[in-house]
Every structure is written in C-alpha cells, then in structure tokens.
Symmetry: C2
Subunit: 247 residues, 2 copies
C-alpha cells in the first residue's frame, strides 16, 4: 500500500508520501512516490502516486518524457510545458487513460485491477496554487478552502488528526507537522506503509521549492515528533476523566 | 457501516458498538448491534455484529431462540445453554454457516456478498474470560494478552489510539475511555458510523454485567470526552515543536 497526503493552504502547499511498495506480502521494496517538477520562476508541480506501480511509472514516463496530447491533433505536452495547473490535471488524466488503453485489457484478462490514483499540486506562472486528485478513470476533483487536504492510498488511520486540526488557514510549518503526524499514525497501524518518507513544501507565489527532503527512520526531528506525539496521546487520554457511571 | 470494538483485559471486558445501519446512502436507521446475554451467577456473554443486517439478525435469531446443533445429531443449543465460551464461539460459527446455506445462494445470485463479522466475548461458570472474532465463513480467532482488542466494521480511524495506549494490563475504566475515544475518532471521520452507542462492561469472574448503557449524543460525559479529546489533540500538535529544517 501507500499513503500520500497533500494540504493546500492559504500560504502554500505541503506534500508528503511514503516509499513502501509491495507485490504480495513478501516482496517489499522502496520506491519514490513523490515527483517534483521545478523550473524556478516558472513552475513548481508535485505529483504523488498510489496503486499499481507499473501503471504509475508508465503514467510518469508519459508526463515527464514522452508527452501526451490533451486532445487529438494537439502537439504532445509534458508537465514541464503545460501552461496552467488545470491543463496539467487534464494532461495527467489523459496519460492515465492512454496507459489504460495499452495495459488495461491485459491486466483485466489476468483479473488485476487497473488501479492508480494521483495527487497533483502546484503553481504555474501567475496562475493559482491548486491541488487535484485524479482517479483511475482520469477524472479529477480539486481541493477547496472547505476541504484543504486530499489523501490517496491507506488514508483512514491518518485522517482523524487532519479532520480536527487542518484548515485552509493553517500555517505551512504546522501543516507539515500535521502531515508528519498523520503519516506516523498510518505507519504505526499499517505495516504496508513505511519509511523513509519524501516531502515537499512550497510557499504560494514563490515559484521555487521551499523544501524538498527525504526523512529516514533515524531523522532526529521525525523521531522526536513520533515520540512526542505518542507521549501526548497517552497523556491526553490519561488526563481525560473517567466516566462517573457506576460500575 | 458499523464500528464495534472489544477489549479483553486482565480485569475484565469492555464492548462498544455504534448503532447506524444503512441500505445505500440514503436509507439510514438505528439498530442495536450489541446483544448481552446475562444469567447472573452463571454467564455473561456480549455479542456485536457487523455486515449485512438481515444476515446478522438471522444469526442472532438462531443463537438466542431457535438454537443450533454444533454437530449433526447433537441437540440444538443457544447462547443461554452452551457450557463454555469455546462452544459458544463454535455455536456462533455454526449459526453463520446455517444462514449461509439458506441465504448465501440467493444473495450471490443478486451479486450481494454474504457479509457478516461478529465479536463474541464473555465468561461462563468457572471458565475463562474470552473474546473471539468470527468471520463470514464461521471460523474464528481469539484475543490474547499480546493483542487485547478486536475490532469489526470501520476499524481504521479508531485503531491508532488503541495501538498506542491499550494493553492487557489497562484498567477497565481506562479501557472504556479508550474505546469511547476510538469510537469518537471513527464517528467524526466516517458518516456511516453514528451515535447512539451501546456499551457493556464486565469485571472478570463477576458473572454479572457491571455496566450496560446506551450513550446518546447529549450524554454529558461523552460530550465532555469528545471535546476534551479534540482539545487535547489540537493542543498536543501545537506543543510539538516545528521542524528546524530551513524553508
């Protein structure tokens, strides 16, 4: 499995992905799921993938190298050349559909799902900072001020803290902390999501990446955060009074 | 959906179930999912169900009224008459299989899953306090000192706090608090799990129920716990220092 979370905030964008992949239960490997496209002064785009790794890699190859025509007859484009974020989302959707045309029937013939989902966030030129979630059919939704975060993969364990604490006004540094806490909850409760994690922080209108980092098991800050969060949760439940019901 | 959680501890047993059922998204109703069988001095058994409501009710009807023969030729028994908790688990398994024989083919013919899971906990006479989880095939697993809690239904949102804080040595009152926090996380993140909730607390070797209660939205303790937990989580993430990474 996979866990990726992205928060689009008033002040910027945070993207965080784990790196564990598995084919069955016993073939476990580390693959980068966060791809960052940066042309300083022009664009920053982050893309995170969940689902079938072969499908994800085929989609990425189209988006970064070979190019895709959004509509028939148009010249092929990549994420380095699309003019707006909406066009970028359409491009990703079209890439997913092209891979489905090639690989879908063979996957289906062997009873495998064509299974991929993608988070795509960023800003191009003077356009807005946007965040999209793409489905396996190539269609997509967009994060709004009401719903500032999107998740793909194993999203349930890490959702409660985001539901409570994340909002559009959350500061970028706090959002990064929330994303890491959300990831920690997931890693702790589900073996199929694992460290290291890759993260990207972008400040609105900067048109360059603020921070891009791989966080490993032995990272002192993440280690401290995990312990502090665990202690805080345990303390929190201890300080809540027990029920006054008779038993 | 449904969320039910049970903790089997050194000092007793806690069982907690929500009450929301839905047929599709727009047909939502309240059904009791926790059934308690109590014969003071002889037995206390709690049973919680998730899955297809018609299947659950058919299984319960066999277990409480009509009776089931664990093996062919044996006289039918109910949860009021089985001599041990292991026999109770076998009885529940056999009831599930009998309902599958009757309803399974028709469900399958209409592309519906035969879908049920059950948590069964309790103590009979001088036997041990035990907790089982039964699958739709009628087979089962048992909670141990290593893994003191079992969940059915929408279990992921509420698992992180249990993973961190629940252990076999947890006191019954604390376990009840943990179960309520776990339920709150689930209710908050998933609309298909809803209040009121039903709970049962049993103290080991008492052979009578310590507490059985329906907790409604306006229950002052649960309202306070939800607020306190939300405040504690928010405070906890605020007190954790931000990363010293440059961005």
């Amino acid at each position: 499995m996979t866990y990726c979370v992205a928060l689009r905030l008033k002040t910027g964008l945070v993207m965080l992905a784990d790196t564990r992949t598995n084919a069955g239960l016993d073939n476990i490997a580390t693959f980068r799921k966060l791809t960052v496209i940066e042309t300083p002064g022009d664009r920053v785009i982050g893309l995170m993938t969940a689902g079938n790794l072969a499908v994800s890699q085929a989609v990425l190859s189209l988006l970064l190298e070979q190019g895709v025509s959004i509509r028939e007859g148009e010249p092929p484009q990549t994420l380095y050349t699309v003019p707006t974020m909406v066009r970028a989302a359409q491009l990703v959707g079209q890439a997913i559909r092209e891979v489905f045309q090639v690989d879908g029937p063979a996957l289906e013939a062997q009873a495998n799902d064509f299974n991929v989902s993608i988070l795509l966030g960023g800003q191009i030129g003077s356009g807005k900072l946007r965040l999209f979630q793409l489905y396996a059919a190539g269609n997509f939704i967009e994060a709004t001020e009401d719903t500032c975060f999107l998740q793909i993969g194993e999203h349930k364990y890490g959702k409660p803290i985001l539901d409570r604490a994340a909002s559009y006004d959350t500061e970028v540094g706090d959002a990064l902390k929330l994303a890491l806490i959300s990831m920690d909850s997931t890693v702790r409760s589900n073996l199929s999501v694992g460290l290291p994690v890759d993260l990207m922080v972008y400040r609105r209108d900067a048109l360059k990446v603020a921070l891009q980092k791989r966080v490993r098991e032995d990272d002192p800050y993440f280690k401290g955060l995990r312990q502090a969060w665990s202690d805080a949760l345990t303390r929190a439940y201890r300080t809540i009074e027990g029920p006054d019901w008779d038993f």
